[in-house]
């Protein structure tokens, strides 16, 4: 088991079966976020913070579109089962916010988005020899870079004054989401020969 993708081919490209699984996982996670942001986005923006929902929706969609086009895909019969387990994991989880149930959907979405943006670092899987001009390599770097920026909205919201009374519950829910997302990411990577133990 290696800590990085590969072995690369002579042109510094990631093997197709690894590209397929990594891209499928990322599309599943960011696609779920895009759908959930789309549902949360009103037709007409009434409040300033909703502009961020718009930005998040389009950035997530951009990530999905990029990965669909930059990946060299190959048939993978295990993906059906794996994708089903991933999609189940992205569903909202019950969160105990005593006294304010209206916040729960937003907290659910923010904790999932925080975990996906913070815990998944696809560019860190690239060995130093990876081709700097390969579309898949560039896509992984872009996904990680954009995730760091998208994450800021979740940090601002989850650390914000509105949620101070629920700090312990928020922290627990977020740690659980991180744990779950990291586990799925680690299992997917192990299935393609990568040891991502922390």
């Amino acid at each position: 088991m290696s800590a990085f993708l590969g072995p690369l081919d002579a042109d510094g490209r990631v093997p197709q079966h690894q590209q397929t699984r990594v891209a499928a996982f990322l599309i599943s996670a960011h696609g779920a976020l895009a759908r959930q942001f789309a549902l949360a986005l009103p037709l007409r923006i009434e409040a300033a913070w909703q502009t961020e929902l718009n930005a998040q929706f389009y950035r997530e969609s951009e990530i999905v579109s990029l990965l669909q086009r930059a990946t060299t895909w190959m048939p993978d019969i295990a993906l059906g089962y794996m994708a089903a387990s991933w999609e189940t994991a992205w569903l909202p989880r019950p969160i105990a916010l005593t006294g304010d149930r209206n916040l729960a959907p937003a907290v659910n979405l923010a904790t999932l988005a925080h975990a996906v943006h913070a815990a998944i670092r696809p560019a860190a899987l690239l060995p130093t020899e990876a081709s700097p001009v390969d579309p898949f390599v560039l896509a992984l770097r872009r996904v990680e870079f954009e995730s760091g920026r998208l994450l800021q909205a979740q940090i601002l919201f989850l650390k914000g004054p509105e949620l101070v009374p629920f700090r312990d519950a928020i922290s627990a829910a977020l740690e659980n989401r991180h744990h779950e997302v990291r586990r799925l990411w680690r299992e997917m990577l192990a299935s393609i020969g990568i040891d991502a133990r922390e």
């Binding site: 925080h114 975990a115 943006h117 913070a118 670092r121 860190a124 130093t128 990680e144 870079f145 760091g148 920026r149 994450l151 800021q152 940090i155 989850l158 650390k159 700090r167 928020i170 922290s171 977020l174 740690e175 991180h178 922390e198």
Partner: protein, 308 residues
């Protein structure tokens, strides 16, 4: 790889050397990780010390709390690590952010220490440091860990160190980039948002203290170290010639030698701080010399101190 427990979190540490030897505990700066002390470990082990290094909560291989880290947590982790060392003499040193944690430990648990070495350190945020810190945080947010490293490298290291590495800086940055995550670094930086100056508590640090400051440290300049020298009773300020903020990386052999000599002097009863201002030698083993009498060590040009 051994771990300590801190609540539900795991702290990765490394402990080497004989259990009955005096111990040095080294605390990382913000973007560092424990392996960066490897040369210190080797040098101090050769001088018959026991050496403990660790990744702070949120750093390297230690667990990274998703949303909140506070300075009290770092002090608690350090306390747990030092408590695990037994009853022998313990010398504590930290650089920059780690130096601040070491200072706070010395204020809260000073009786457990035999000596303290804050390096590139501060007890309060000057307007410059506050604004630089905010700008570095914005850099991290907008450009990621790599951009933060791009800002810190030229600010904290000399041309002499950087020049031969200019074509391979990506390799220099890679391990730090791999082991440190944006959100975790951001949490560490944001633990400063509620920073309360500790200057007024420094006088309670009774242990011998050697303060190390790079001659050209721009990030935490001489004036911030001067606060430590003036307030800590048994202290001396040692200026590292031609060094910047990250002199522990650039001048490892010299710094490790200074750490060992300080501890040896304290253990032999030779250490006298006297709030002196000293200049370190250029090479390990050289003599420390007093700052020229009558001149102002806070200035970058030779200006005479006003007569008292």
């Amino acid at each position: 790889m051994p771990f300590l427990s801190h609540g539900s979190y795991r702290i990765r540490y490394e402990l080497d050397g004989p259990a009955d030897a005096p111990a040095y505990v080294l605390v990382n700066g913000l973007t560092q990780y424990a392996e960066l002390w490897a040369a210190y470990r080797d040098a101090l082990l050769a001088r018959q010390f026991r050496v403990a290094t660790f990744d702070l909560l949120g750093q390297g291989v230690s667990d990274k709390p998703a949303l909140f880290i506070n300075q009290d947590g770092h002090v608690a982790v350090l306390h747990r690590l030092i408590s695990a060392l037994g009853d022998g003499p313990v010398f504590l040193s930290g650089i920059s952010f780690g130096g601040l944690i070491a200072l706070r430990y010395a204020i809260e648990h000073g009786k457990r220490l035999s000596g303290l070495v804050p390096m590139s350190c501060f007890a309060e945020l000057s307007p410059q440091l506050l604004l630089i810190g905010n700008a570095l945080r914005t850099g991290l947010i907008l450009g990621g860990t790599g951009y933060l490293q791009d800002l810190l490298l030229p600010m904290n290291l000399s041309d002499q160190w950087l020049k031969p590495l200019l074509n391979k800086l990506d390799g220099v940055k890679r391990q730090g980039w791999l082991v440190n995550d944006v959100y975790a670094l951001q949490n560490l930086m944001e633990s400063f948002l509620d920073f309360h100056p500790i200057t007024s508590q420094l006088s309670s640090i009774a242990v011998p203290t050697m303060i190390l400051n790079g001659e050209f440290d721009f990030l935490t300049p001489r004036s911030l170290h001067e606060t430590l020298r003036v307030e800590i009773p048994d202290s001396a300020l040692v200026i590292i010639p031609e060094a910047y903020h990250a002199f522990t990386l650039e001048k490892g052999a010299l710094t490790a030698d200074l750490l060992a000599r300080f501890a040896e002097d304290v253990l032999a009863g030779r250490w006298k701080g006297n709030k002196a201002v000293l200049i370190a030698p250029g090479e390990p083993g050289g003599e420390l010399s007093p700052f020229p009498a009558g001149y102002d060590h806070l200035r970058a040009i030779p200006v005479r101190r006003p007569s008292p």
